[in-house]
Each structure stands twice: as structure tokens, then as C-alpha cells.
Subunit: 362 residues, 2 copies
């Protein structure tokens, strides 16, 4: 953890370089918090759009030096743009919001000296990547989301504090770890799941249409992320190739073992049990330990107003809904809505909804 900085770095002007979804959202969040934000982007129309949305004003050559620069450009350009900003603004702290952290640091090391490099601290907000462009931006994008802050060995403590402060001002929950730890973490929690979803989805692309008629909610969930932008994912995986390849090889070993067990009719329990343990290891809502929840299923006619009626009833009953899922029912206009509530509330909710005329199931 950083020491408290000698002088507060936080309140100075912030320069956002790259006004896509993430950069514009940072601008909106910081402007809302009263910070002065300037915007730059190779595409001037993106700056105009971001500025029009209230994310800050276009940067000018005669601007006084920014206190902090946020680089929000595509993964492949990160190292070069971070170096450029460190050299252009010799007193500013520089961070970036890219999905990988080691590769840009390596690219940076060949471009700037140790003193300039001390002003760089990488970071990575965990915000959705399926949307893009300034028009998709919002001041609330980072609220309650994890935001990794990844100091390198030479990062100055006050630079770490400044980047942490900006992430927190955006409403995020910071998690501090080294660039290498970060890349291992996202390889496991993001890049591997993405690629495995891609392989499962790839087998559907091959499939006869008749087979796909039996698709249920499970396969939809497993494959959803595989619909993400291939160009972006090429860069992300490419920039984290060693960690991703290592996990893929581990899965390859697991898969070999699994194929052997399935072919010989052996005991699947050890593999399946480990899967259950993995699902339970994912942290619960709000960062706390996983809470015991139950699902209550409700049949809901599939037209406007019915969900409103259901949630109005749930609200009156006073049970907080932890999660909602609507089953996609082929062939008829009725939906099955899955309400996830704490285990203690499930019986209450089911009973009370039943009394109000809803058809419920557990």
C-alpha cells in the first residue's frame, strides 16, 4: 500500500487520452465529481461527442500541465501512448485502463527511463467490453465495480495514491495487485472463460438446425460472452498470451483426463465436484462471502406490464430480489421468470406471490 503523499496530487486537472467507452465514462464520472477534465483522441469527432455528453472539454496546446493522464486506447497501442504521455507531461501521473498490464509495461520500459516510469501506474476497471464508443459511455459505468490498480516495482507511492483516488472518485472499488498478478487473474477469470465459451459456441456453428432446437438456458449462459468483438479479443488475448496459453495447457490436461474417464465409463465425480467448488469460490454480491440463495420461478405472460405487476408485488411483499432471469420459451408467449432471493426469503416470497395469484415453482 502507498504511503500518504506529501502534497495532494488528486485535485489537479485530468487529461483523458482516448474518448471511447472507457475514456468518456471516466471523463463523465470525474466531471460529475467536480474535477476538471480535458479530452483528446485521434478522432476529433469522438472528442466533440464526449465533450457534448459532458465528459470534459477538448484539450488545447496551451493548457497548463495536467496532474494526471488517463490513457484509454486499444490494447496494442498502450505502451507507445503511455510513453508519449509521460514524456509530453513531465510532472503528471499517468495511468491506463487497458485489459492487460504486463505487455504495455514491457513496451514502456524500452521507451522511457526509470524516473519517468515512476510516474506510471497501470489500472483496469472491470466494466463490460461488449459496448463501445463514446455514445455508450456513462458516469455510472464504474459504480461498485472492481478496479485493479497495478503498480510496478518502480511506481512512486504518490502516483499509486493518485490513481487509486481517481478510480474511487469514479465510484469503483479498487483492488491493488502487481501487473503480473493482474494478468494471471484476468487470464483465469476472463480470458480463459471467454475462449472456452468460444470453443463451445464454435461447436454450435457446426450443428444441424434440428439439434439447436433443444437449446436451453444453460448453453445460452455458457456461450453468451463468445458473442464479443473478435478484433478486441484478438488484442486482449495476444497481449496476455503467456498466461492464457499456460491456463489453456492446464485445461488441455484436464480435458485429456476427462475424455479418458468418459471413454472408459469411469468416475466423473472428482471432476464434477471440483467444478461445484469452483462455482462456489466466486465471490458473492457486494464483495462479501457467497450468500445462500434460492430461486423462485414464476410463470409470467409475455407482454408489457406483467413484469411490472410481478415486481410491484415482490416489492410490497418486502423481499429483495438478488437476481432475475427470464427463460426463453420456444413456442408460446409465456415466460418463466427466475427470481433469486436469500434462502430465508424464498418460502415467504413463494407463498405470498401464490396468494396474489401468481403460479410459482421452486
Amino acid at each position: 500500500m502507498p504511503d500518504a503523499p506529501g502534497a495532494p496530487v488528486g485535485p489537479g486537472p485530468v487529461l483523458v487520452v482516448g474518448t471511447g467507452l472507457l475514456g468518456t465514462s471516466v471523463g463523465l464520472a470525474l466531471t460529475r465529481a467536480g474535477r476538471e477534465v480535458r479530452l483528446s483522441d485521434p478522432q476529433p469527432e469522438h472528442v466533440r461527442t464526449a465533450s457534448g455528453l459532458g465528459a470534459g472539454r477538448a484539450a488545447r496546446p496551451d493548457d497548463p500541465e495536467p496532474a494526471l493522464v488517463v490513457v484509454a486506447c486499444p490494447p496494442d497501442a498502450l505502451g507507445a501512448v503511455i510513453a508519449e504521455q509521460l514524456l509530453a507531461h513531465p510532472t503528471a501521473v499517468v495511468t491506463d485502463v487497458g485489459s492487460v498490464k504486463t505487455a504495455p509495461l514491457t513496451a514502456l520500459a524500452s521507451r522511457v527511463g526509470r524516473d519517468d516510469g515512476a510516474r506510471y501506474v497501470g489500472s483496469h476497471p472491470m466494466a463490460g467490453s461488449e459496448r463501445s464508443g463514446p455514445l455508450a459511455a456513462t458516469a455510472t459505468l464504474f459504480e461498485g465495480r472492481p478496479w485493479a490498480v497495478t503498480p510496478h516495482a518502480g511506481s512512486a507511492p504518490d502516483a499509486v495514491a493518485a490513481v487509486t483516488e481517481v478510480a474511487e472518485t469514479c465510484g469503483a472499488v479498487t483492488v491493488t495487485m502487481s501487473p503480473a498478478e493482474h494478468d494471471l487473474a484476468v487470464a483465469r477469470t476472463s480470458h480463459l472463460p471467454h475462449l472456452m465459451a468460444v470453443l463451445v459456441a464454435g461447436r454450435l456453428a457446426d450443428a444441424p438446425t434440428e439439434q439447436l432446437a433443444l437449446s436451453g438456458q444453460g448453453v445460452r449462459d455458457v456461450t453468451r460472452v463468445a458473442g464479443g468483438d473478435p478484433a478486441l479479443w484478438q488484442q486482449i488475448v495476444g497481449a496476455n498470451a503467456p498466461a492464457v496459453a499456460d491456463l489453456l495447457r492446464q485445461v488441455r490436461t484436464d480435458l485429456d483426463g476427462l475424455i479418458g474417464v468418459v471413454e472408459t465409463g469411469g468416475e466423473l465425480a472428482p471432476v464434477l465436484d471440483r467444478g461445484v467448488a469452483g462455482v462456489r469460490a466466486i465471490p458473492g454480491k457486494h464483495g462479501g462471502p457467497p450468500t445462500a440463495t434460492s430461486a423462485v420461478y414464476v410463470a409470467v405472460p409475455d407482454h408489457p406490464g406483467e413484469l411490472a405487476r410481478l415486481f410491484a408485488d415482490a416489492g410490497e411483499i418486502g423481499v429483495n430480489i438478488e437476481d432475475v432471469r427470464i427463460d426463453h420459451d420456444p413456442g408460446r408467449p409465456v415466460g418463466l421468470v427466475e427470481l433469486t432471493v436469500t434462502a430465508a426469503h424464498a418460502v415467504v416470497l413463494r407463498h405470498a406471490l401464490g396468494e396474489r395469484g401468481w403460479e410459482t415453482q421452486r
Copy 2:
């Protein structure tokens, strides 16, 4: 497709053998539709529970012959129980609701002759397997769900018609295919996704806690099904081993190729593009072609009544919500609710919610 039967087989009494989730739900749905239903189970208390719920009455030795028997027992017992029922009720049509169709048919062939076998037609309703027991049953479990009807080469047309009629009476949408086609379909759309989710989740079970702090919605979706009952999945995969092993070997080939591309920094686009194509190939809601949808994100305070207010507003705006997802935000009591609506409605909904004071994003 079956010919119209000479005499209607449908309206006779139905015997449900096995009163767990599926058997009891069949009993409830058929009873509600006015059919006479009798129940049997090795565990008499399950019959009492199912009967108490209104799924039918306990079968008695002096009952007249049933017109149709629905076998709803664990996968490993299917062949033996189907054979037993065919021999015990020499004029009845017999079906089952198991997750695999070829293995029980093979087990059956060694137990009954061709004439008796003609009265057997397998089937498989696509209803959730994470719940179990008669208390979890409901008359609406099958409403709008696909229900595979899987005649074998020797199935009598009137038996196929009778099984189809029962599935439709339960509210399901029947899909007719051979047992082998069915097993290939569920290997691809259910068993493979399940096992791949298990492998991804298994890598989380290994992970340092700090790495899991970066878990987002993607990894939660990919791994959710891996939380299913290991004992049940052992039987399902075991009974469909050849088809599952074949797909696993195809995925291993894909994975080998993927590892090579990642290790050498090659072009991932072909793999990623095929994943996108696979996601798009999954049929849309209500069995129609996939509809273009957009997501509208709304920040919602995480306490009772707020979701109700949101859905009430969405209902008044008159936009039908196709799907809902609540993001699990670590660290603070605000939820990000993702509303999926047709692309044409997204702008309307976003604007109208904004006017009512909601913070929205695309």
C-alpha cells in the same frame, strides 16, 4: 410423422412411475387437463407428497390397465423400469422422460421382444435439472418448453401419437427426432457446455482468492451450470458417453489449434468469428429466428421496491422486456440492471426511463 391412430389412445388413464420433480410435474399438468393420473414410486412418501399436491392418486393393484405409462426414474434405471412396465401393462404405451435416449433403448432390447417394444416411445422434456423432488414440481414446468419425442425404428405410430399428445397436454412444444439424433443434440447443446463449464470452474477452484476478486459477470455466466448435481450428471454423461466423448475430442482438436495460435501470436479471428456465429445460431425466444436486441443498463438502488418501480415505469412506457440481468456489484449497494429489449425499442426505453429520473446506459 405418425399416422392418425385408428382409435384415440390419449384419453385413457396415465400411470406415472417415479414421483420426483419430472414425474410429479407430469401428474400435476395432466390432472389439471382433466386426465386420470395414478402414481407409483419405490418411496411411498414421495407418492403421498405428489398425491397431496394434486398430481394424481396412488396406483393400486386392482386398477384397470393404464392407457399410457410415464417412466420418470434416474437415468441408470431407465431400461429396466421401462421393460418392467411394458411387461406389466401389455396394452399400454410406455414413455420415459430421461435425459438420454439410446442407452435405455439398448438396455430395453435385451429385455423385451419386438411386439412389446413397439409400444415404447422415448421422450425428453427440456426442463431444469437443478431442482429435484416432488415438492419442487409444478403443473407449469413444461409450458412452452421443447419436449423431444424420440420414436425408435420399431415404435408404433399410435404410440408416437399418444406420447406426443401427452407432451402437448403438458403444455410443451414437441420436437420429433430419433433417439440417436436426440443424444447427439443434447451432447452438443447440454452435455458439452456443462463439462466445459466444469473445466473452467475447476480452474477457479485452484485460484488464489485475490485473483477471484476480479470476477465479472462473464465468468459467472460461463460457469453457472457447473454448480449442478454431480451424481445426476455422472449418470447423464455416462449414458451418452460415445456422443459426449466424440464432441470432447473435437474440442480437444480445436483447443490444440487455439493453444498453437496463442503461443505463436497468430491470428485468432477465425476461431473468435466461429464463436460469434455459434452464439447467433442458437434459436431466438419462442422458437423463432433470433431477433436483434439491445441492452439498456439502469443503475438501481439495491433494496426492495426499486426493481418494482423500474418495471412499473417500463410497463407504463409500453416496452416489452425480453430479458433481465442484475449485475453483482462488489462493494456497494447499487445494482446495474440490464434490460434486453428489441433493438427498435431500446432508444425509446432509454429516453423514457431517463425522463423518469433513472440513470441509464446502453
